[in-house]
Amino acid sequence: MSHLTPSADRRAADIAAFSRRHRFHWFEALPWLIAVAAYFMFPNYLALGSQILAIILFALSVDLVLGYAGIVTLGHAAFFGVGAYTAGILAANGWGEPISGLLAAAVAAACIGLASGWIILRTTGLTLLMQTLVVAAMLYELANKAYRFTGGADGLQGMSVWPIFGTFRFDMFGNTAYFYCLVVLFFGWLVVRNTVNSSFGRSLTGIRENVGRMHAIGAPVAQRRLVVYALSAALAGIAGALTAQTAQFVGLNVLNLERSGTILVMLIIGGIGRLYGAFIGVPLYMIAQDRFAEADPTYWYFWIGLAMVFIVVFLRGGIFGVVERLLARSRKQ
């Protein structure tokens, strides 16, 4: 039987590799160093910067369900929007404390995630895709109709967000907003990182790769899918709340299909299921969009579309996919 049991050396190496998986690598500090450096290098672009940081958190939440658990969704804006409106409506009605606003947004989005997930996660594939779309569309109409609370198509006017800890006021130049988003994103990233590296996270990958086998070994598949869906919803809700608080405004577009679609595009550009795809795809997309809109205010949508076509044709698997292919090729040589 000796040919079936790996040698002691090989086993030790495997165990070492698995135990290293959770450790922090030096390159994981890179995004944070760049983010801090960007604060000093581009002081005029902090409003855009804080939006990018908030959307990275949103993309991370999508990566968690799509990249790790394999739940295909076209309706994640639902949770982003619920979070944004929760924080926004609180701030417009006399409770502008930002951190409790974030928590309230997370709870509200998680509740919607649990309730909708309990129903729609019974399906898979295209049916599930359609159901996620429907949930987002229903919430959009709800926000449109609830004029008294949301301001409908006019957007939520009159938000007043209090200073963080009563000290750091949200200024027009976005200094406070930038660091606020950065710190919240960091904690969100820690949560996602720990989740995907935990046994729970590994079982999610198992469910994605071979759901029959996960059933066979007795894993509670439905329950795990629901839990990760709610967790992802909470993170998306926090991202929405960040956007609402830093922009001091909420419009219907937080809930629309375009938002659900573009977040997928950004994630695909970076690379799905890699934890860092969001950190590459989101800044790339949003900076390109900002440049195009500035250079050609009339036809900037055209340039965005053209750039997308290029990426789809030439960058299969996203930027991370390309990097991995290149690394693999150089290793072979």
Partner: protein, 396 residues
Amino acid sequence: MVSGKLLFALASVATLGSVTTASAQTIKIGWVNSYSGFLAQAGDQMEKGLNLYVKLHSKDLPPGVKVEFVRRDDTGAPEVGKRVAQELITRERVQMLMGVVASPVAAAIAPLTAEAKIPFVITNAGGVAIPRISPYVTRFSFTLWQTALPIGTWSVKQGWKRGFSAVADFIPGHDAEGAFIKGFTDAGGQMLGSVRFPPASADYAPFMQRIKDAKPDVAFVWVPAGPAATAIMKAIKDLGLREAGINIVSAHDLLPDEELPNIGAFGADIVTAGNYSTTGVRPANTAFLKAWDEEYKGKAIPNFTSVAAWDAAHAIFELIKTTKGKFTGDEAMKFFAAWKDPNSPRGPISIDPATRDMIQDIYIRRSEMKNGKLVNTDIETIKAVKDPWKELNPPK
């Protein structure tokens, strides 16, 4: 990776194109307009009005002083408008904001101008309460209360006692509805009902059917000026509202001059109230139309939005001439508060210092076919109309 390089090349070319060197005598004005989205056509009308004035009058500026318009697309969405306005203030360091088609966008931008203390010169967005949001807002267009209230009063004078209103469900629509009902009921009319539809809607039939079922004498129908006007006129035609004896009235947005060729003969004999019509007989209007036709070669028709942008550009250029290009936000606001122009293409206009809104003549116009073309012909002029809403709702 070829494409990655290409993308970056594209992006950097785009960046280079927008890099500008500002000298001490260059006045930067942030121009926020709807280049895309459901109000893009109104945005185009406004753009043409501004461009024409700037082209003709840049030579009149004091020597060495230049005006640079930094243009941004708000897509008709308030959150985008607020973001681009913030970028114009913090990144481009503009001295003034100008433009804006959509009222929700203007309402979202206004609070920023209070914090930045820079003037915000609105050239369309008619939401009545917007100047109250910030002391740095002034407006060269109109409020829906200026146009919709008189048409309510006028309707009752025709003996039409039972009314109905149908409006787009956003700020100006709500204003239009409130103003029409006020004018109509104060004059002794009775409202049978009112309905609101989504602002970017394309299917008006169900809402027009509601009007038909209610059988009023007069229906006030309001949509934002542009293609929506033609679409809703088509729904009115298809459902036979006018054949059923229902008179249609509106503010000028239902029959904007540039949409008249698309609406055609069916649009004749509808009465609307507005502040400008191309048929207005005034020397200033004749000169304006002549310059317009020379520039746009007869391929475009100006409307009230184009004229508002023209008038606002005129006031700003006069401000620059008077101050030799050196002014603070407060000085500019003081200048605008005293602004008077007896020779606007739309007639005599001035800014009401108390409200920072226009005082202007409002024309009751009847549409008619003239030489095979649909036109709005002024039938009554109400002189020097102040915004009625602000008089009815004094600041607290």
